[in-house]
Amino acid sequence: MRYVLMFAGSVDEQEMWEKLPKEQLAAAHEAVNKWFEDHSKAGRIVGGEELRGPSTATTVHHKNGKVSITDGPFIEAKEVIGGFAIVEVKDLDEALEMAKTWPGGSLVEVRPVVDHSAH
């Protein structure tokens, strides 16, 4: 069963990260890398990326056959997605266990992926 773990945090949290002293930032990155490494070794990681901030986002709208392009994310929210991992595990409990140990931020949304081969 495949899930996507979406790593999110508040805008404030994001800013706090940017202001972190070098050593602390390095330690935080180290923890995130280790999380990815451990779960990769256990065969649970299919893929994943860290995303640049919402200020770098561009949104493409499709409406009535017309396409328009705007600056910014599609939803202005207090929480922003900072990255994601695609994981392959047995069930939701295993995915939740992974999310519980995530060291990189305060929120993880866990979503099952639609299996197009089954239907």
Partner: protein, 422 residues
Amino acid sequence: MARRKPRRGASGGGSLGALRDSTAATDAAVVAVFREEAGRLTGALVRLLGDFDLAEEVVQDSIVAALEKWPVQGVPDKPGAWLMTTAKRRAIDLLRRDQRHQEKIALLERSTLPAEAAEADDRLRLIFTCCHPALAQEAQVALTLRAVAGFTTPEIAAAFLVSEATMAQRIVRAKRKIVDAHIPYRVPQGDRLAGRLDAVLSVLYLMFNEGYLSRGAQVAVRRDLAEDALWLARLVSGLMPDQAEVIGLLALMKLNLARSRARFDESGEMVLLPDQDRNLWDHVAIAEGIELLDKAGAMRASGPYQLQAAIAALHSESKSWEETDWHQIVLLYDALLRLSDSPVVRLNRAVALSHFAGPEIALGEVNDLAIALGDYHLFHSTRAELLDRLGEPALAREARLRALELCQNPAERSLLERKLAR
């Protein structure tokens, strides 16, 4: 005690109303069958088919069919087997719609559910699935009642005072999530168990309180949620005999239910603990509750339900309100606060403290909870009681009026109104 008649067809319509005319004795027997068979059957089917949604649906269909047919044809000799056959047929019908399900149909046709599949763990797995923290708690409660205790959707809707459509949607959504998000059908093991068991126990306790607190004249026809919660707690404690807190919860429920005959007077008005006629308490049930509590205590794994049961036991053992061992009760509340600090526990502690250290000190502690409990009617009614004792009738009245504004429960409202009218 007046016999309560289980309510069916709460909406007044449809086939569920058919049983209304049957005798209370038959009703009780039918409820017992549903309780005993629904979870067993659903559990076995989930394991066999690997499809929670389908399994739960066909068992529910068989219950609804039974509610239609049994009042007319009589309850069959082997009601469990009847439900099983009906559920199985229904499952085969549904599966036939899809060619890819040949294998499952073959499995079903060969099986002799749940006799062969009477794995003790099946119902426990089912309970843990229904009470999975990935589901909203209100959905956990509804699913547990339906899948494990054999409630129908209208019965659950009536118990929680929401429309049938709302309740049906809540259940459909939760079941879809179980299937789509792959919520496992499993009893969690190792260090994951404690947290998940807490979730199960809080669902059962919520269910119990919903039934217990709303007991009164106006709910005389409801399928008894408190009794069903007690039944579920007994089931879980039978399946997990080494869990002290499960026994603690069972003891707590038993001790509370033992007082229920004294909780309402002849005209259906609520009577609070200080004014209850203690001769009306069920002293056999109290003895059983205390025995359970001792059994849990011997396991040396204390927890909030055992502590609450111990408080209930002290009340139950006391000859009168005045002779209650308030000091011991305050100590138990302190222990409870150390486990989990909550403003409601603090409020209850303050009531005990008022009889031990006086109403003035207690009022100070209650006032400290104003921010946390400002919207809670019992905060204001507790203040009112303390203010009365301190000779402040005007302030007491003000607090009681505020409590009345916030209180939903008809029996509690009526009690407040009576006190205001004095």
